[in-house]
Each structure stands twice: as structure tokens, then as C-alpha cells.
């Protein structure tokens, strides 16, 4: 029996407790220092945990010393560690970037609250990845969701308020559906522990109650995941929130939701032959395909680049869900690796956009004319991200596409392979719209002068861009990790 690893609980408790600390000190810079220190500590611990998980399969912590299923158990397996590292990496990279960006976008007297909320959001997302308890997961889901509603509403534009409100409504419905699902499962099994649920589930799988639970869980999480057609809250939320929030949410929140979906399908219902009992596969696949095509098409027509990238995110979620829907080891690995790669790519893209907003205040394509000349280094990073979205070789996006298409071919679903490639051509169009405006047009006369971009924003952007190139050229580690996680989920390890 594994002994409890205290790092697992510290990983959650430290950011959780540091949030009220930020409120108490009420100083913008001090709050940032706290957030910075915490996020880097979290990153270091996550790395440590990842390697420990790789060495021994899983890491656990029993809260209060109570054994599962009576007590709450924190349990980190390979998939959890992978998601943890995504969240922690993005958190660590975003914090140094945040300082200047937040100062320019959020009223000074609210900055310490901003970091409080950001730390809470980080806590929630980390908690979802480590907890082994379905109800505890709901708690963390709510912590991250509630804090993200606040974060979004802090945007400069007044439309941020309606965007946050809309997300609040949709997100609450999603969370409520989730808790209804958990309640129904509890009714049938008397357990909330995920591992325990997984062993009891086959006995009660045929009941209508479990079927209803399954439906509630799927729809609820799909809402948080912004799976087409439940994505309507996302474009406005990403567009009007402060730049840092967009970066953070786009790179982490939807990935963590996908993680929950994987947990439900492949751990809680892991012993049930879910995909042959319920028509989950055709439903998920058609939604994923609709997301890939319709959201990409929408992205092409956007004039606001933040919104364009938001629609692109919806499309990319489609790719991840498509991989999951295949329900094979390769397919899952494709979905999982794309979580990581897309976090790098979209993180870079939104960081670059945030930096443009910082320097010029521009967000529409028209305002970006000739930006390639004025901000050459930054736009180069954005182009790297854009190439990643297309899936050009040597970027992380290529690896995702490789894995997803391989998975469809292995599953003998070659029309899906063709559709994946076809939809990735849409990315060429919207990325190239930006490219042409940025590089091939002359800046209009009377453009506002650009504020020089601080290194604290440029370096994190390039760090993520280079990471996406590194993991696009040396993908052995991430691919193997994704495969291991997928194998563990499929119950083969």
C-alpha cells in the first residue's frame, strides 16, 4: 500500500491559503510577488510529482488519515500528472507576464483582488487534477469556475460584464448538472470515491438512474468544456476578459474539463462497456466534427483576433474530443497530447495578442496593419503559434495531428482522417489573414505610437513558443507520456 505523499496536499493548500493572504496585504505588487512565488513553487512540485508518478504508477494522499472510500483521497495517476503539469506550467509562465499586462488593464485598486482570484482559479484547476473523489472534484470545479467569472468580469470593456454573466449562467448549469449526476451515482452506489465508483458501477450499470447520471455528467462537463453546440459562452468570455485571464483560461480550463470527461468515461465507467452500451461515440464524434468545421469557419470571418483565436479554441477542442471518441489507446493519446500541445500553442497566441494590446491597444485585424514591422519579435512568436494551429511540421501542432490521424487510420476510419486534414486547412486561412495584414500591409498613417514591450512579457511569450517548437521536434517524451496515460485509462497498465 502506498504511503501518503504530503506534497500532494501542499500543492493544493498552499495556493488556496495564499489567496486570502493576497486580500490581507492589499498591495498590488506584493500580491503579484506572492502569486509569482506560489505559481513557481507549484510548478516545481508538479514536476517532482510527475516524475514520482512515472516511477511508481500513482501517488496518493489520504486526508485526515482516513482510508478511501470513507475519507477523501487525493490520487494522482499519469493522466492527472500530465494535466497537472499543463496547469502548473501555464501558471508559472503566465505570472511574470501578468505584472505589466494587469497593471495596464485592471484598475490599480483591484489588482490585489485579481491575483487573489487567479490563485483561487489555479487552486481549483490543480485540485481537479489531483482529487480522487467525485464530490471533491465538484468543489474544485466550483472554486475554479467562480473565480474565473470574477476574473472575466474584470476586463476593460464593459461587455466583459455580460460575458462573465453569460458564462456564469452556463457554467452554473454545467456544474449543477455535474452534481446531479454525482448525486444519482451516489444514490445507486453509495460512494463518491472515483476508484470505488469504478468497481461498483458494473453491477448497477443497466439501471435508468445510472443512465440519467451519465447523461447529466456528460452534458454538464461538455458545457464547461465548450463542446459544440454548448460553446456559446466561450467567444465573449475570451474576447472581453483581461489578456492574462484569456491566456490562463484558454490554456488550462478547457483542458481540465476534458480531463474530467476522460475520468467519467474511462475511470468511473471504466469497467462498464460504455461505448457499446450507449451511443456515445456517434454523439461525441458528430459534435467534435461540427466543432472542427463550424468553429474554424467562424474563426475565418472574425475581425477581432481575440475572438478569432477563441473560435479556433472551440475547433481545437473538437480535435481533442474526436480523439477521445475513438475510444482506442491511440485516440485517447491523440486527445491527451493535443491538450498539452494546444496549451502551448494557444498560450503563445493569446500572450502575443495580450502584448499587442499592451503596446498598441489594438485587437481588430484592421488595427494590426503592418504590425509585423513595428513589433517584429513578438509577431514572429505569434506566427510560430499560428503555424502550430495549422499543424506545420516542427511545431507541436504537427505532433497532435500526426497522432490523431494515426489513431483514425488504425481504427479504420479513414474518412475521419480526411476530415481532420480538411478542417486543418481552415486554420491556414485564418492564420494567413492575420499574416497578410501584419506583414504585407503598410501601417495606416496616424497610427498611435507603440508602447515599448517589456521583456517580462516578451520572454514568457517566446518561452512558450520555443516550447511548442521543442515539443514539435522532440515529441518522444510527450507522446510516450500520452500513450502511458491512455493505457492506464484503458485499464491496461
Amino acid at each position: 500500500m502506498l504511503t501518503s505523499d504530503p506534497w500532494l496536499i501542499l500543492l493544493i493548500v498552499v495556493p488556496l491559503m495564499s489567496a486570502p493572504v493576497c486580500v490581507l496585504i492589499r498591495n498590488a505588487t506584493a500580491a503579484w510577488v506572492v502569486a509569482m512565488a506560489v505559481s513557481w513553487a507549484v510548478f516545481a512540485v508538479s514536476l517532482k510529482l510527475l516524475f514520482k508518478v512515472l516511477a511508481q504508477g500513482e501517488v496518493i494522499y489520504r486526508i485526515g488519515g482516513w482510508d478511501a472510500p470513507w475519507g477523501i483521497e487525493y490520487k494522482l495517476d499519469i493522466l492527472g500528472a500530465f494535466v497537472l503539469i499543463i496547469v502548473a506550467t501555464v501558471g508559472a509562465v503566465v505570472m511574470p507576464y501578468a505584472k505589466k499586462s494587469v497593471e495596464s488593464e485592471v484598475p490599480k485598486e483591484r489588482i490585489y483582488l485579481f491575483y487573489t482570484m487567479l490563485l483561487l482559479c489555479l487552486t481549483g484547476l490543480l485540485g481537479i487534477a489531483v482529487t480522487g473523489d467525485a464530490f471533491n472534484l465538484f468543489v474544485f470545479l466550483e472554486i475554479s469556475s467562480l473565480s474565473s467569472y470574477v476574473l472575466i468580469s474584470l476586463g476593460r470593456d464593459r461587455r466583459a460584464l455580460t460575458a462573465a454573466y453569460r458564462y456564469l449562467i452556463m457554467g452554473t448549469i454545467g456544474a449543477t448538472f455535474y452534481i446531479i449526476g454525482v448525486g444519482l451515482m451516489y444514490q445507486m452506489t453509495g460512494s463518491l470515491n472515483i476508484a470505488d465508483l469504478s468497481t461498483i458501477m458494473p453491477a448497477v450499470a443497466d439501471t435508468r438512474t445510472v443512465l440519467a447520471a451519465m447523461a447529466f455528467l456528460t452534458v454538464g462537463i461538455s458545457l464547461k468544456l465548450a463542446l459544440f453546440p454548448l460553446h456559446t459562452w466561450l467567444p465573449n468570455a475570451y474576447t472581453f476578459s483581461p489578456s492574462v485571464v484569456t491566456v490562463f483560461l484558454a490554456a488550462t480550463a478547457t483542458k481540465v474539463s476534458l480531463y474530467i470527461l476522460l475520468r467519467i468515461f474511462f475511470t468511473i465507467f471504466g469497467e462498464v462497456d460504455l461505448f457499446s452500451t450507449f451511443p456515445i461515440q456517434p454523439i461525441l464524434m458528430s459534435m467534435a466534427l461540427a466543432a472542427m468545421f463550424l468553429a474554424s469557419l467562424s474563426a475565418i470571418w472574425q475581425e477581432n483576433i481575440k475572438r478569432m483565436m477563441a473560435y479556433s479554441s472551440i475547433a481545437q477542442i473538437g480535435y481533442m474530443v474526436l480523439g477521445v471518441a475513438l475510444a482506442t489507446e491511440s485516440g485517447l493519446a491523440g486527445g491527451i497530447i493535443h491538450m498539452f500541445n494546444h496549451a502551448l500553442i494557444k498560450g503563445t497566441a493569446f500572450m502575443a495578442i495580450g502584448a499587442i494590446i499592451y503596446s498598441t491597444g489594438a485587437v481588430t485585424l484592421q488595427d494590426l496593419e503592418g504590425i509585423g514591422k513595428r513589433m517584429p519579435l513578438l509577431m514572429a512568436a505569434f506566427i510560430v503559434a499560428g503555424l502550430g494551429l495549422i499543424g506545420v511540421p516542427l511545431t507541436a501542432g504537427f505532433i497532435s495531428k500526426w497522432q490523431l490521424v494515426t489513431a483514425t487510420l488504425e481504427a479504420d476510419m479513414w474518412p475521419l482522417a480526411a476530415l481532420i486534414l480538411l478542417s486543418s486547412l481552415f486554420a491556414v486561412i485564418y492564420v494567413w489573414r492575420i499574416f497578410e495584414v501584419a506583414y504585407l500591409r503598410q501601417p495606416a498613417i496616424g497610427h498611435k505610437a507603440t508602447k515599448p514591450l517589456p521583456l517580462s512579457m516578451l520572454i514568457p511569450t517566446w518561452a512558450l513558443a520555443l516550447a511548442s517548437v521543442y515539443f514539435g521536434t522532440h515529441a518522444t517524451f510527450t507522446i510516450d507520456l500520452a500513450h502511458m496515460a491512455a493505457r492506464q485509462l484503458m485499464g491496461g497498465l
Binding site: 511540421p393 495531428k401 490521424v405 486534414l421 491556414v428 506583414y439 504585407l440 515529441a475 518522444t476
Partner: protein, 498 residues
């Protein structure tokens, strides 16, 4: 054997050297333009020396190889030198030297903007061409193929005009959609079936793919390689003519398009294997499409008044000669296809150099404006004539030899269609090149109302000396290849011999 470096290091250097040159160019920038140009030229010369130092070993049967990095589990970006790749790398790097000299004269005389970016993108394009040439597996080929597309895009849209942007869209649209839509799929499919992506003698698909699947896979590969400009995936090439002439000359007559047909030949020989295709006759349709492209593109070329567009359609037609040579599947015609890569490279770069020279000195772009220009620009037009003769396939130019070999292959396999196509296209080639020569040397310049804007340039002589030197050199090269075709032929025969 290179006395200074191991073979592996030489291969790596061939890939990295242009990039280092690019960085040097970037550092020097517009402020030190003389040094910048010197750096470009020096890089090109070094690159050629490095590539050439491998020739002897490759001819002796060595296949030096080096793994760059492990991109995916078990799949490396690998560079392996084999005869065809060596030939392609020699052509690309050798003509890069000449083209750099030409560029210096051309870009300065025409006061082009963003010259630093121009030279940097060139180094990237050459580096990726060498990467394609030396690619040891399909993955490596694909990686450099895509980089080549992206690095040449800024060159196509160099002027930034509306036309350039539109041309760039077609360029990128056709090349990206074919490579992502077809080539990527074909690569993964092959990997899924065979578990390997290595280029191997005799192919990797033999015995594993049958019937319709083989046909579909061949289709995906052939149309996935859009750079080969086989109809109907040819539209990008005329669109790319909005680029400055040195780009059209080196990239869209040599590096990019040769990368296309090179990939086609390489896939046929090393992925499918000649034996597999001979047995299954899965590639019969390829012969028809290539034949159709040769004839159709020539007919379109006949009707083009814009000189560069006429040359572009001529390129489309000539590229399909290489595909045709490979699709005949006779060893001698495949050697001919390899030879044609070299022959067409020298001939077509000369023609483009001449077109650019005419534009630089006389600001003329249309065939109908060229009456009597031979008297003002004798060197340019004589070089043009030599290039044109090579396109038609007349001795004493290199085009004759390659056509001869391809024709021999057709005779060997008694393929009446191919023989007819070659004869027909020779006539068509004569039909669209000889009138230009006739106009230039034997017609008097007449004053017409629509030529008025150009009259102020009428007092022109030859172009700047770097331009003239470059085009004379390649014209002489076209003739030299007729008398000394040993190296390309030997490499071509080594391709099918082993």
C-alpha cells in the same frame, strides 16, 4: 573523401551552412549592404563546395547517413545521401552561386525593398532544398517540403502589391492544401501499413498493398506533391511569377519545382519500387496525366504574351517530362528523368535570367514588346536562344540528351503514346520559343502607342554586368552539359543501378 570532415558532419554542415549565412546576412543588414552581399555569395560558394565534396563517395556507392533528432518515437529526421538527392543538391547549390551574383545586380538596379529579408529567405529556401535532397525518410522529406513552401512565400509576395498578395494566396493555398490534404495522409497511411517511412532500394510497399489501395496511395502521393506542378495542381506556378525574377529563376525553375519532381521520382523508386508498379500497372494513369500536362501546358504557353508566364507554363510542361520519364518505369528513362532535372535547371534558369535582364534594362515584360531587342542586348538574347534550344531539345544543348534518354525508354517499352507526346511537345516548344528569338533578332522595333511609357527606357544597352555574367555562365553550362553530361548521368544511372 573530404579530408577535413567526416561524412556525417559534412551532411549536417550542408544543411546548417545556409542558415548560418542567413544569420550573418541578418546581422549585417541594410547598413552594410556590400558585406551582406559578400556574405551571401560566400555562403553559396561554401555550400556548393560542401555538397560537391560528397559526390565522389556517392558515385563510389557510399550512402552516408546521419540522424538529426528523434521527432516521434522511432521516427528520426534523417539525412541520407543517395545519387538522385546528390544530383539535386548539386544543382540547387551550384546554381545558387550564379543566382546570387545575378540577384545582386538585379535587386540593386531595380531598387527592390527589403533586400535583407530577401537574402535571408533565400538561405532558408536553399537549406530546406538540401534537406529535401538528402531526406532519408518520408517524414524528413515532408518536414523540409513544408519549410520550403513557407520560406518561399515571403519571396513570392516580396513586392507587397495587391497582385503579389493574390499570387501568394494561390501559391500557399495550392501547395499547403495538397501537402496537408494528400501527402500527409499518404505518409501516415504508408506508415500505418509498413511501419517504416525509410526510403529503401526496391521500395517499402512491395507485397503489402494491393489493387485499389495501391492506386489510391499513388494518387495521394502524386497529387500531394503539388510542387511537381502536375495538372490540375499547377496553378501556383504561374501565380508565383509575381516574385522578383531571381526568385522565379532559382526557386520556381530550379529549387522548388525540382524538389517536387525529385520527390515524385524518389517516391516512385524508393517507396513504391519500380517492380511493384511494373507488376501492378497502377501508375498507368500517371503516364496519361503527365502526358496531358506536357501538351496542355505547352498549348497554354503558346498563348501567353507575358514572358515570365510563358516560361512558367513551359516549366510546368518540362516538369512533367521528369514525371513521364519516371512513370515509364524503364531504367534508362528514369536515368533520363534525372538528367532532365539538371538539363532543365540550366536551361530554364538561363531563360529566366534573360527575362529579368530584359526587365532590368528595358522594363519590358511582354513578348510582343521584344522586337529588335537582340541588337541592344546581344548577350542576353543569345543566352536566351541557347536556353530555348535546350527546352526544345536540340543539340548542342543539354535538353537533347535527357530527351534522348526518355525517348529511348519509351522505345524500349514500345509506348507509342509517349513517343507521340514527346514529338508533339517538341514541336510546340519550338512554336513558342522560336518566335521570340525571331522577334529579337530579325524584326525591327516599331513604335506603337501602347509602348509609349517604355520609350524613356529605349536608350538601353545590356543589364548590369553581374546579370550578364550570370546568364552567360548558365548558358555556357547548358552547352557544357551536352558535351560533359557524365556526372548527372552517372548519378542518374546509379539511382536505378543499385
Amino acid at each position: 573523401m573530404n579530408p577535413f570532415l567526416s561524412q556525417a558532419a559534412t551532411i549536417q554542415l550542408a544543411l546548417i551552412l545556409p542558415l548560418m549565412g542567413g544569420i550573418l546576412v541578418w546581422i549585417l543588414g541594410e547598413r552594410h549592404r556590400n558585406l551582406r552581399e559578400a556574405a551571401s555569395l560566400l555562403t553559396a560558394i561554401c555550400e556548393f563546395i560542401v555538397v560537391a565534396s560528397l559526390t565522389k563517395d556517392v558515385l563510389a556507392g557510399a550512402r552516408p547517413s546521419v540522424d538529426f533528432f528523434e521527432m516521434l518515437p522511432g521516427l528520426y529526421v534523417t539525412l541520407t545521401v543517395e545519387p538522385l538527392g546528390q544530383l539535386f543538391a548539386l544543382i540547387a547549390s551550384g546554381l545558387w552561386i550564379v543566382n546570387t551574383v545575378y540577384s545582386i545586380g538585379y535587386m540593386r538596379k531595380n531598387n527592390e525593398q527589403n533586400q535583407t529579408r530577401f537574402y535571408i529567405c533565400f538561405t532558408l529556401a536553399i537549406s530546406s532544398s538540401v534537406g529535401i535532397a538528402f531526406s532519408g525518410n518520408i517524414l524528413t522529406l515532408f518536414v523540409f517540403y513544408e519549410i520550403l513552401t513557407l520560406s518561399t512565400y515571403p519571396l513570392v509576395t516580396h513586392s507587397g502589391t495587391v497582385d503579389a498578395v493574390r499570387g501568394g494566396r494561390i501559391y500557399l493555398g495550392v501547395l499547403m492544401s495538397t501537402s496537408i490534404g494528400f501527402l500527409f495522409l499518404a505518409m501516415l497511411w504508408t506508415y500505418n501499413i509498413t511501419g517504416t517511412l525509410d526510403f529503401q532500394n526496391g521500395g517499402i510497399l512491395g507485397g503489402q498493398v494491393h489493387g485499389a489501395e495501391l492506386g489510391v496511395l499513388l494518387f495521394l502521393f502524386m497529387f500531394g506533391i503539388g510542387k511537381a506542378a502536375m495538372m490540375p495542381a499547377h496553378r501556383w506556378l504561374p501565380a508565383a511569377m509575381v516574385a522578383p525574377t531571381p526568385v522565379s529563376a532559382l526557386l520556381h525553375a530550379v529549387a522548388v519545382v525540382k524538389a517536387g519532381v525529385f520527390s515524385v521520382v524518389k517516391v516512385i523508386v524508393y517507396v513504391f519500387g519500380i517492380d511493384l508498379l511494373v507488376e501492378s500497372s497502377a501508375d498507368d494513369w500517371l503516364l496519361f496525366i503527365a502526358a496531358f500536362t506536357i501538351i496542355a501546358a505547352s498549348i497554354v504557353a503558346l498563348r501567353q504574351d507575358n514572358l515570365k508566364r510563358r516560361l512558367a507554363y513551359s516549366t510546368i510542361s518540362q516538369l512533367s517530362y521528369v514525371i513521364l520519364g519516371a512513370a515509364i518505369l524503364a531504367p534508362i528513362s528514369i536515368a533520363g528523368a534525372a538528367m532532365h532535372m539538371a538539363a532543365h535547371a540550366f536551361g530554364k534558369i538561363t531563360l529566366f535570367f534573360a527575362a529579368g535582364s530584359i526587365y532590368t534594362a528595358a522594363h519590358k515584360t511582354e513578348v510582343s514588346q521584344l522586337d529588335g531587342i537582340g541588337k541592344r542586348m546581344p548577350y542576353t538574347m543569345i543566352a536566351f536562344s541557347i536556353g530555348a534550344l535546350s527546352m526544345i531539345g536540340l543539340p548542342p544543348t543539354a535538353g537533347f540528351i535527357s530527351k534522348w534518354y526518355i525517348l529511348s525508354g519509351a522505345l524500349e517499352t514500345s509506348n507509342a503514346l509517349v513517343i507521340l507526346v514527346i514529338i508533339g511537345s517538341t514541336l510546340l516548344n519550338a512554336g513558342y520559343f522560336l518566335p521570340i528569338i525571331y522577334r529579337a533578332f530579325f524584326k525591327e522595333q516599331k513604335l506603337r502607342a501602347k509602348d509609349e511609357p517604355y520609350q524613356k527606357y529605349d536608350n538601353h544597352g545590356e543589364s548590369p554586368w553581374p546579370v550578364v555574367a550570370a546568364l552567360c555562365f548558365t548558358a555556357l553550362g547548358t552547352i557544357a552539359l551536352f558535351f560533359f553530361p557524365d556526372v548527372p548521368l552517372a548519378l542518374g544511372q546509379a539511382l536505378v543501378g543499385d
